[in-house]
Symmetry: C2
Subunit: 333 residues, 2 copies
DNA sequence: GTCGAGTCTGCAATCGGTTGCAGGTCGTGT
DNA sequence: ACACGACCTGCAACCGATTGCAGACTCGAC
């Protein structure tokens, strides 16, 4: 059906090898024959068959992306970034959704690894050991977490949390609640750490209220416990949780930010549509996806380079309407 | 590096052809040799190289998915459905995001079509002619729209709109505004049509307020025009638009559903988190993705069958808090 | 005139599977 | 004992590209 390299060769009056070289090593062939070849390519609308090329070169020109949940806007944005940058490099992206099932993940990665040159992996829950096992026989770039000896791109959670705390302290808050995500999640650990450092530095108190699902429901579940802490502000694991908090607080008749200020993390689309619009630490999600692709492709080009081994992106506090001055009557010295 | 069919053959003491058949045509090989082969496969962790197989069979075992915007929760859900069902069939999915640029689309599809067996295409804006041109040389399944002679899966918009109108009429609404999406969009046209039929049948009035971007901003922009119609209820093109309406109405001090009832379409995750929680026509999005894959694979297996040529899915009205009885003082005879 | 260097170009092997065809073995019927 | 079919298995060609190697040709220098 489609034109093969032989068709092009015949039309151009050269051998297939010459066509191949004219395309991938233009310097090696005479300018006039190269012109004949490109004309023939043009005329037939020839595109090299990737499977055939991959067979001999061992490279498929394809990368895999594994995410916990495509419907989660955070991962959707990362996917978008990965996809856009990969296309610029003429690399196709296989997308796989593990449906939040860390157990399925390893199998999926293994299956995928046979078909791709490398994998971009968003795996907040997997253990370091699982990840190093995976990275053994596949080139992997981690997004939003680190693991010993594996390439990755992460956010500077410590700095992001410092920005949030500084904002709250400036508003007069001294007692700040923290709604963590899953205890095993890399982000939960680092955000908690950053928060502890920041409150210490800025002379405030941090009141952790435990670990919750990183979802709207998780936020709803956490809200009453947050109120019980008598904190005047709360930092949520992510925006989904913060929006859940907002909903339950509204139902309880608590005014945000009048009685309680709420800060999220991520800045998903939904956040500016929340009521009140959510103050949050914006994480450059598409950028993370783009950089992950760059790291992966660089690693594939030159496995020795261990390029940078690790990228870090900074968050940016976006102040909206869910944070305000601490209420006098609840302030705690 | 990885085991080849020859390694397996050597270990099992048979020829590569026998290994190949033991895997893909088990009935053709003797049970005992088949056992030896599968044991060897197991031991070596052998997986057939897809590129090599694709070269000879002409099938890549891969499908493409083209969507306007992965960050749009509607398309994210469809992607999720496609991806899940494809995996069940051991088919990989290339995902491409056109970034809402219909012009880029044709090129993308063409590039993709060389690498996949078929394509699932979400293309609300493309013209019928463009689509038929694309379907000329690639197997395509359309999602959420139809085009002459092309396989597709759509929603029964007429029925969905009838449900919404019936609900509103039962609440006493007689004058219903309609905020349309992009004029060229297939869904806008069919929803508008369904709405006109429904109001006629149910003895209400429909007041179209024009075409807006299918976004939160689109809804914000439409809100004041909706109020000017003196309608007591409004149906929005989709949930994003409805949520935009909600935001602007709140800013204007309009009570929903006290003064005005709002209905969306899609039921994206965000909708139940809106304030008030949004009444909407739920479209089974993942289901659409799954069915699209089934249609595509069936078509690829037997191109003659023209299987069904068209699937239709029904929406379901989800009543939440954004709809209520029509206010007496605004009711119009 | 010969030689050497430099520059293309073609031959043929190769990647890892699949499949048409031929051949071998075995059992059964006559 | 022979023929025949059924059932398996192996040989070898093939899919469409890439690439090491060698041959051809040009040009300049000695």
């Amino acid at each position: 059906m489609a034109a093969t390299i032989r068709d092009v060769a015949r039309l151009a009056g050269v051998s297939p090898s010459t066509v191949s070289r004219a395309i991938s090593l233009p310097g090696m062939v005479n300018a006039t024959t190269r012109a004949r070849v490109t004309a023939a390519v043009e005329q037939l609308g020839y595109e090299p068959n990737r499977a055939a090329r991959g067979l001999i070169t061992g490279r498929t020109g394809t990368i895999g992306l594994v995410v916990p949940d495509l419907a989660n806007p955070f991962f959707a944005s990362i996917t978008k970034g990965v996809q856009a940058r990969a296309r610029q490099h003429d690399v196709a992206v296989f997308v796989a959704d593990t449906d939040e099932d860390p157990a399925a993940e390893a199998g999926l990665v293994r299956a995928l690894s046979k078909q791709v040159d490398g994998i971009v992996l968003c795996s907040p829950r997997a253990t370091d050991d699982e990840l190093t096992a995976i990275a053994q026989d596949t080139t992997v770039v981690l997004v939003n977490r680190t693991a010993e000896g594996i390439l990755g791109i992460t956010y500077d959670n410590e700095d992001g949390m410092r920005q949030a705390v500084a904002h709250l302290v400036a508003l007069g808050h001294r007692r700040i609640a923290w709604v963590g995500g899953p205890a095993t999640s890399w982000s939960t650990q680092h955000r908690g750490l950053g928060l502890r450092n920041a409150v210490e530095e800025l002379r405030a108190r941090l009141v952790p209220v435990g670990n919750f699902a990183p979802t709207y429901e998780g936020g709803m579940a956490a809200a009453d416990q947050v109120l019980a802490t008598r904190a005047t502000a709360v930092v949520a694991y992510n925006d989904l949780v913060a929006i859940g908090l907002l909903a339950r607080l509204h139902a309880r008749g608590i005014s945000v930010p009048g009685d309680l200020s709420v800060v999220g993390v991520d800045d998903i689309t939904m956040s500016r549509m929340a009521r009140p619009a959510l103050t949050t630490v914006r994480l450059p999600k598409q950028e993370a996806g783009r950089i992950a692709v760059e790291l992966l492709l660089a690693m594939l080009d030159d496995p020795e380079s261990s390029v940078g081994t690790q990228g870090t992106l900074h968050g940016e506090l976006i102040v909206r309407d869910s944070t305000g001055p601490a209420p006098y009557n609840r302030k705690v010295p």
